[in-house]
């Protein structure tokens, strides 16, 4: 599904991703863990196509298609979704309006028919209920005045509605209490399927108790320095990132 080869990303001339390679096959959930400043968010932005995070070298393909040549919205229409570490406030645009605009833009880009208003509302009500989001909240401007946890739930709601093929979750667990964490994890687990893959970026092993990843990778100093099964997350929790940070330096 997603294949990253030897990716270099520099911000303001400073190398942040330094030859990163990673494969996430369809049907799998991979976790990326690493210390603060390792480049985890940079990786998620580079995959999503954020301006300023252009790649200096390397390749990223989704089912063989070159992602790096595409604009952010084109990548989204191909199935790339990013749950932001810090979701942006969109003043004046009700969440429902925003999500419907996004879904229809993607559908148009793929040559599909737009979602009808009743079908959209039915879907929104159903997904909001599973994520324990008050439906009235979706009438408010997206993320404006929402708590940290509400914003993260809103990210998962958007993911559930957009139903992407490849989802990146950038520290979706940070700032969540244990109940919210479980709801978010259930939302992610419900998305697992044979034709979808996910990259779960996290700082803590806590989330990975609820979302059992197929593989765990350690990102330090802009590279994947270790990979393993779910047990690697526990080892990191015990031992910290120090030895990887040193090894990478």
């Amino acid at each position: 599904m997603l294949s990253i080869k030897n990716l270099y990303v520099a911000i303001d001339g400073k190398p942040i991703l330094d030859g990163l390679s990673l494969d996430v096959p369809a049907g799998e959930v991979h976790a990326v863990m690493g210390p603060n400043g390792a480049g985890k968010s940079t990786l998620s932005y580079a995959l999503a196509g954020r301006p300023g995070y252009e790649t200096a070298a390397g390749s990223v393909t989704l089912d063989g298609e070159d992602l790096l040549a595409l604009e952010a919205n084109e990548r989204a229409a191909r199935g790339v979704f990013l749950s932001f570490q810090y979701p942006t406030e969109i003043p004046g645009v009700p969440a429902l309006t925003f999500i419907r605009t996004a879904m229809n833009a993607q559908r148009r880009a793929r040559g599909e028919a737009e979602i009808s208003a009743p079908e959209f509302l039915r879907l929104a009500r159903a997904k909001a209920a599973t994520l324990k989001i008050d439906f009235d909240m979706l009438k408010r401007a997206l993320n404006v005045g929402f708590s940290g946890g509400e914003k993260k739930r809103m990210e998962i709601l958007q993911m559930a509605m957009i139903s992407p093929r490849f989802a990146i979750l950038d520290e979706t667990d940070s700032g969540l209490d244990i109940d919210a964490l479980r709801i978010v994890a259930d939302g992610v687990n419900a998305m697992r399927s044979a034709d979808r893959a996910m990259l779960v970026i996290t700082h803590y092993q806590r989330l990975l108790d609820h979302i059992r990843p197929d593989r765990v990778h350690v990102l330090a100093a802009g590279r994947i320095v270790a990979s393993g099964g779910p047990e690697l997350a526990h080892a990191l929790e015990r031992e910290g990132y120090d030895k990887y940070a040193k090894a990478a330096a």
């Binding site: 604009e71 229409a77 833009a105």
Partner: protein
């Protein structure tokens, strides 16, 4: 010294110029070397205005000629479409109108400036008096021709407990100015909302100028103006709130926020608070900038193409002012106006 006087006397020296502090960004003397000939009378104007169907009564001033006043008798409630039309043969004209809203009366004034002709030069002077407890909601929509010079000047005086709510929708002209001066008595809960929107493209220029003078205690004023300028357009906002000696416990808020959507567009803003009283709550905010890049990327990440994302965020930015319009029909006309202005300009 005013454009109206210059039109009436033919004396260009009467034009306001950049040496007049209040007119430094809308210099008419430097602009007009000659005045067009006086506008002829024009009868039988029939085309519908932007608020067609919303008002119980229509008052038309064509080429500066029409009724001299509107009165809303005490206790009555009226909705009036007031249309200032520059017909195809318009040259230079000035009009005066007095609006009397008697005690306890209510008026929804749907005012439009409709420029059909080209190159006209026009001024309208309005005098509005609100009696005790009277209410006025005024929505001003400008549709001036791009090569016209159009000035609208209003002096409003509020009685005790009167309420004035105003929204100006400015599309600009070669030079356009909408000026509102309010004498605010404070006492008895009089309140003022003065809002504005401008959406400008090409070489259009819109100037929204307001002066609110609080003369009594406990008055409230709430102002929000938002604008968008692209191409080589220029937006001007001058807002002054004066809290006179003794006008204690005044609560006055003024915001002006603009988006510059091109390198050659310009916005000039001068928010001023002059406070001579005690225990006053006054706040003002003024921002001029580009569209939020983070919001733009967020929308694009969700699949919304660049142009559509920009239009959505810009419309949402301006929507805050539209949402404050009380009259539902006028609010929807304003919403459509914003969408159309943005569409035309993109």
């Amino acid at each position: 010294m005013s454009l109206a006087r210059a039109i009436e006397t033919g004396d260009l020296a009467q034009l306001p110029s950049r040496r007049d502090e209040d007119w430094r960004w809308t210099d008419l003397r430097g602009l007009l070397r000659v005045l067009p000939p006086p506008s002829p009378p024009h009868v039988g104007w029939a085309a519908p205005g932007p608020f067609a169907g919303l008002a119980g009564r229509e008052v038309k001033i064509v080429n500066g000629r029409g009724p001299g006043g509107i009165t809303v008798p005490a206790g009555e409630r009226h909705t009036v479409a007031l249309r200032f039309i520059a017909a195809p043969d318009a040259g230079a004209h000035a009009a005066r109108l007095a609006i009397e809203i008697e005690d306890g009366a209510e008026l929804v004034l749907l005012e439009s400036y409709e420029g059909v002709g080209e190159g006209y030069v026009a001024q309208v002077d309005l005098r509005i008096r609100l009696g005790a407890g009277a209410r006025l909601e005024r929505i001003v929509m400008t549709r001036d021709s791009p090569d016209s010079v159009s000035v609208s000047k209003t002096e409003a005086t509020l009685g005790p407990a009167a309420a004035l709510a105003q929204t100006v929708l400015a599309a600009g002209a070669r030079r356009q100015r909408t000026e509102t001066r309010v004498s605010h008595p404070g006492a008895g809960g009089a309140s003022v909302r003065l809002d504005g929107l401008y959406v400008l493209d090409g070489k259009r220029h819109a100037d929204i100028t307001t002066v609110v003078t609080h003369d009594g205690v406990d008055g409230a004023t709430d102002q929000l103006t938002k604008g968008v300028a692209r191409d080589q357009a220029r937006g001007v906002f001058q807002g002054r709130i004066v809290v006179s000696p003794g006008a204690d416990r005044t609560d006055a808020r003024m915001g002006h926020h603009a988006l510059l959507l091109s390198d050659r567009a310009e916005v000039d803003a001068k928010p001023e608070l002059e406070i001579y009283a005690d225990d006053v709550v006054c706040a003002h905010g003024n921002t001029v900038g580009a569209l939020d890049e983070e919001g733009l990327f967020y929308a694009k990440q969700r699949g919304i193409p660049d142009a559509e994302a920009r239009a959505m965020l810009t419309e949402a930015f301006l929507g805050e002012v539209v949402d404050r319009i009380g009259h539902e029909g006028a609010r929807e006309v304003a919403r459509t106006w914003v969408a159309k202005q943005l569409g035309a300009a993109s």
